[in-house]
Amino acid sequence: MAEVPVEHGLILAAILFALGLTGVLVRRNLLFILLSLEVMINAAGVAFITAGSRWAQPDGQILFLFILAVAAAEVSIGLALVLLFHRSRKSLSVDDAIGMRG
């Protein structure tokens, strides 16, 4: 199997990260912000895998497993928060949660 160049993997990770960040910044819907956060986390995961394969070490894949576990936990808590948020405000827009402004 042909080796994927490191640059390709990293560029992919960067693009994914930038897409995710853009999503977090421009989206107002909480659900989409959560999705964008997942994209950003997976971008970090891609970067780890790429680095692991570049140096032929298992560490990258181990770390990706950790990231998966953290992402799963984060999603479950995040969705619970979204649910509560929707229940109390009847909306999913983050711009409704500005009660703590200075």
Partner: protein, 660 residues
């Protein structure tokens, strides 16, 4: 060991500082009594050790002076904070710390449920510290510091429950009345300093003896001014009005004021300055007469009081009257001996009264008590011992030996005589009559209805029982340090004091007359007890019927009001003064002050508003307000803005790392 003398007043002072600075909130409630009573206890322990060394190997001249630091130096005058330990001050500090410690221990339980627990111990510690400074002071100015400190603490403690207006008024009264005496004392001190050129008490006395002839005007004036100061502090005629009202404070405070501190300060002052008083025979006679008059007046007033604490207050006045009688007769050591025994039995009586009052829900009226002998055996027995000692029950009690010595010395002193002796004897009769009236009313007879209703009073705890028992032991035993000639002849106490206080020069008296006088005194005491038994236990109707006759009623009211002194001062001094002040409101002086001070000042304040300095400060205020607004705007509440901020920050940091 003697060099640790400065710690004796320093430890209670440190206790006060700790309690006052740490306050109610930072100090757990359980620690407060440990600090409060512990500091005085430590001080008492130190006093015992110092005393033991003083007795075992007396320092040169039987006195030890310790200079702690230089207080002030101005021109040719240098004043040191110096403490002097001699037989007199050792006796005083032992009583102050030892009795003071027992009272603190008692307060740890007695005051346990009071919200001002911490404040109470802070004041009490300061009180003890001030009294120790007073008695240890080596110069008059330091003595005056302690003197005023004692006055301040009495004000704070009498008005301890300040939420009730009457207590505040009693505190102000005590402060103002003693202030009259204090002002006289201050003038007397300045007179002595101007005339003799020294503040030091030990340098001053030989100089006074050398410069002033006995009976000269300046000696009379100085002694009279000091006597006026002593009269105020010791609640003697005519400045005695504050003491009965001082009962507004908590009971341990009364015990401390009456037994160990405050009222005995005047006795100490005269004993300390005895050389000066010896130069003024007329003033000594005045002291003796005032003492005799006070002891009779107060004894008669005590006879008709209903409040148990007021009986004890008048009793203190009367017993301090004995001390003044002895001082006036030149029997210095007899006065200090009576102070010594009085401290124990009076503290005991007050603490016992405190237990009784607390067990009956703050009931002070002895006519609403009764039969407590059965429910409170310990309080009964200790109170009985205190009462016997106060009334000088012959042979057994400490009070007998000290009171008997005063009577004998007054009889045989050239400055005394049969008239003063007879007053003292009548006082002894009155004493046993009024105190056994209290004993029979409170502890014997049928329980008052109210006491029956309430469940049996909970017995006092160990911290109350120990002080009662120890003081009871001392109320009996403290008298055996000095036995009169007819009964063993062992004048250990006056021998001990003889290094400081000269012995009395006795007139040649017929041999055996001392025994005769003692039998007289004993008969007076026993007759008083018998009369009390008949009037207040056996036939209680008899005294009531006497009080109901018009003459009896008038006398009853007159004595009960303390011989009308309060009324006299109200009409002669307080009311005219208040009226004068009210009438002179807005008079020419008020208007002058308004024109010259108040108005120019407000005008100045108005025109200088908005000047250069004002602008600097308002600019600083504006700057801060602007920064606050700008920073507040950053907290927009929009999560996306925060995320953008984080992203921008991360990009900048990465860029810096990459481009470096």
């Amino acid at each position: 060991m003697l060099s640790l003398l400065w710690l004796v007043p320093a430890i209670p002072l440190a206790g006060f500082a700790a309690l006052a600075l740490l306050g109610n909130f930072r100090l757990p409630r359980a620690v407060t009594p440990i600090v409060g009573a512990g500091s005085v206890g430590l001080s008492a322990l130190l006093t015992v050790l110092i005393g033991a060394q003083y007795l075992a190997s007396p320092p040169a001249g039987s006195a030890y002076t310790q200079t702690v630091w230089n207080w002030m130096a101005a021109g040719g005058l240098t004043l040191a904070v110096a403490f002097r330990l001699d037989a007199l001050s050792l006796t005083m500090i032992f009583v102050v710390t030892f009795v003071g410690f027992l009272i603190h221990l008692y307060s740890a339980e007695h005051m346990a449920r009071d919200e001002g627990y911490n404040r109470f111990f802070a004041y009490m510690n300061l009180f003890v510290a001030a009294m120790l400074v007073l008695v240890l002071a080596d110069n008059l100015l330091l003595l005056y510091l302690g003197w005023e400190g004692v006055g301040l603490c009495s004000y704070l403690l009498i008005g301890f429950w300040y939420r009730e207006e009457a207590n505040g008024r009693a505190a102000r009264k005590a402060f103002l009345v003693t202030r009259v005496g204090d002002a006289a004392l201050a003038v007397g001190m300045f007179l002595i300093f101007v005339q003799l050129g020294t503040w030091n008490i030990q340098d001053l006395m030989p100089r006074a003896a050398a410069q002033w002839t006995a009976g000269s005007a300046v000696a009379l004036l100085a002694a009279a001014l000091l006597l006026a100061g002593a009269l105020g502090k010791s609640a003697q005629l005519p400045l005695q009005v504050w003491l009965p009202d001082a009962m507004a404070g908590p009971t341990p405070v009364s015990a401390l004021i009456h037994a160990a501190t405050m009222v005995t300060a005047g006795v100490y002052l005269i004993a300390r300055m005895h050389v000066l008083f010896s130069l003024a025979p007329a003033v000594m006679l005045a002291a003796a007469v005032i003492g005799a008059a006070t002891l009779l007046l107060a004894g008669l007033s005590a006879l008709v009081q209903r409040d148990i604490k007021r009986v004890l207050a008048y009793s203190t006045m009367s017993q301090v009257g004995y001390m003044f009688l002895a001082l006036g007769a030149g029997a210095w050591s007899a006065a200090i001996f009576h102070f010594w025994t009085h401290a124990f039995f009076k503290a005991l009586l007050f603490l016992g009264a405190g237990v009784v009052i607390q067990s009956l829900d703050e009931e002070h009226d002895i006519f609403r008590m009764g039969g407590l002998r059965k429910t409170q055996p310990l309080t009964f027995w200790t109170f009985l011992i205190g009462a016997c000692s106060l009334s000088a029950l012959p042979l057994l009690t400490a009070g007998f030996y000290s009171k008997d010595k005063i009577l004998w010395d007054v009889w045989s002193s050239p400055a005394g005589g049969p008239v003063l002796w007879a007053a003292g004897l009548a006082g002894a009769f009155l004493t046993s009559l009024y105190i056994f009236r209290v004993v029979f009313r409170v502890f014997f007879g049928a329980p008052f209805a109210k006491t029956q209703e309430s469940s049996p009073p909970n017995q006092p705890g160990i911290r109350v029982r120990i002080p009662l028992l120890v003081l009871a032991v001392f109320s009996i035993g403290a008298g055996f340090v000095e036995l009169p000639e007819a009964l063993g002849n062992m004048p250990a106490f006056s021998d001990f004091l003889s290094t400081t206080l000269p012995a009395l020069t006795v007139m040649a008296a017929a041999p055996g007359s001392e025994v005769f006088l003692e039998i007289d005194a004993a008969a007076a005491v026993l007759f008083g007890m018998l009369l009390a038994y008949v009037f207040f236990l056996r036939r209680p109707g008899l005294s009531d019927r006497m009080a109901r006759t018009p003459a009896g009623n008038a006398i009853h009211r007159f004595w009960s009001a303390g011989w009308g002194f309060d009324w006299l001062y109200e009409t002669v001094i307080v009311h005219p003064y208040v009226r004068l002040a009210a009438r002179n409101k807005n008079d020419v002086f008020d208007r002058l002050v308004d024109r010259l001070v108040t108005r120019p000042y407000t005008w100045l304040a108005r025109i200088s508003r908005g000047d250069f300095f004002d602008r600097i400060f308002s600019w600083i205020a504006d700057l801060n307000a602007g920064i606050s607004r700008a920073l507040g705007a950053l907290q927009s509440g929009y999560v996306r803005w925060y995320a953008a901020g984080i992203a921008a920050g991360a990009i900048i940091l990465i860029a810096m790392a990459v481009l470096q």
